[in-house]
């Protein structure tokens, strides 16, 4: 069977980490891909130094998007805002540690897509306020 469906991916899909919502998130992000129905809702709160103190997600979608979002929440913990903004697609794909084919990149990158939308909104609010 396909090596994309590694134990890590199957495990994160079956037991998503940081599932749920935060009481007072600073950054709220959503993606909704109508082409496959992958939905990721991501929430982050920052501490006084601007590091990710809490993170949570909810969503619905394929195994790769959900497992990637779960892994993502573990990896972004403690990162500074600037580090979040500098996150690349390759880094997120590396976290998955599975041979993601081109046809599934979009699934694997759905938490990053959500984060980027959330960061843009956060910056806009920050600049405006």
């Amino acid at each position: 069977m396909n090596t994309v469906y590694t134990e890590t991916i199957l495990d994160h899909y079956a037991h998503p980490r940081n599932w749920g919502r935060l009481a007072a998130p600073d950054i709220v992000a959503d993606t909704d891909d109508p082409s496959c129905g992958d939905q990721v809702h991501l929430e982050l709160s920052l501490d006084a130094e601007g590091r990710v103190a809490q993170v949570a997600f909810e969503g619905e979608g394929c195994m790769i998007s959900m497992a990637s979002a779960s892994l993502f929440t573990e990896r972004v913990m403690g990162k500074r805002l600037e580090e979040l903004e500098a996150l690349t697609e390759e880094e997120v794909l590396n976290w998955l540690d599975a041979p993601i084919p081109p046809t599934r990149r979009r699934c694997a990158l759905s938490p990053l897509t959500a984060l980027r939308a959330g960061l843009a909104a956060y910056r806009r609010a920050f600049a405006g306020g």
């Binding site: 069977m1 199957l10 496959c36 129905g37 979608g61 790769i64």
Partner: protein, 406 residues
Amino acid sequence: MFDVARIRADFPALSCPVRGKSLVFLDSAASSQKPFPVLEAMERIYRQCYANVHRGIYAFSEEATLAYENARERVASFIHAPRREEIVFTRNTTEAINLVAYSWGRTNIRPGDRILLTQMEHHSNIVPWQLLAQEKGAELVYLPITDDGLLRMDLLDSLLDERVKLVAITMMSNVLGTINPVKEIVRKARAMGAVVLVDAAQSVPHMPVDVQDLDCDFLAFSGHKMCGPTGIGVLYGKASLLEAMPPFLGGGDMIRRVEWDSATWNDLPWKFEAGTPAFVEAIGLGAAVDYLSGIGMEKIAAHEREVTAYAMERLSALEGLTVIGPPAHQRGGVVAFTFRRIHPHDVAHMLDMEGIAVRAGHHCAQPLHRRLGLTATVRASFYIYNSPDEVDRLAQALEHIGQMLG
């Protein structure tokens, strides 16, 4: 006796191993594989007599032009069009529908008019009409479907009033597989004075289609779903309508005379074929038509009914598998399904690792999926080269996936 093994030998791609396994290709509703005669017909032009059509005063151009116009005649007779000038070559079904929406639609649709579609249309038979309706202040009306994917024919009469100027319907759904009673719909629509366009992308490749029997005004289909190449499609239109319509695209080949400020149009069908046409592809489509006719469309339809009925039976027996759409006797060779709660992309991906090619997603029918309460489905579709053995491979692979994921 339908000899699948002999047919498969005509399709070189089918014997290419995939992921170290023999290929089970179950995505012909998206695009079919190509047989040797089609590949050879196109290669012959490129190798032996390639030159632009219609105006070259030399042997190559003459030969290419003859082959191009000859392909048109074969396509005309394949769908029983009375006249070859009623066959307009387009890029695909989508472009054929857009041609009608832009040319006929923008001349004939007025504010308050209605365009009647069905809930099972492909995006290509929805979006061009949305653009037209928005521009003209017209209204789109959808004939509903039942939960098992049949048209609510009991509602047709009440929706078909004098405001309906156009009815655009698919002959066979690319998701549900439903074969619609197009002839009856055409009769009722025409009685109300409406023009009827038939999206035949899924029907012309798989069953006999006779435009005179249907009596539709327009019929659109694509070459690449019927063993032909990509980049070539067909719009059939009744000559009386096509003659009255303004051109779609302007440019070379579609004109008779050009002045600084004006131009006059070429005869049918060239009035609608601006620029150098995809003539090599049209010649390939002509070869595809010959290939399919050589097997016989009745036989092809019967073979696909048999494989589809077997697939319905095998797949429905799997635990947690739900086939959407009507029973086998009311559908063509398309079986879309959901499997447990596994996302269709994951199912397709895992099947691919077994060398089985299916499609997963909304199959360009998002409104239909929403109507069914689904985001996406897995779709297996069958053609002349598919066998019951391949249905077994699909069913076994699904069983295996089910076991693996508990």
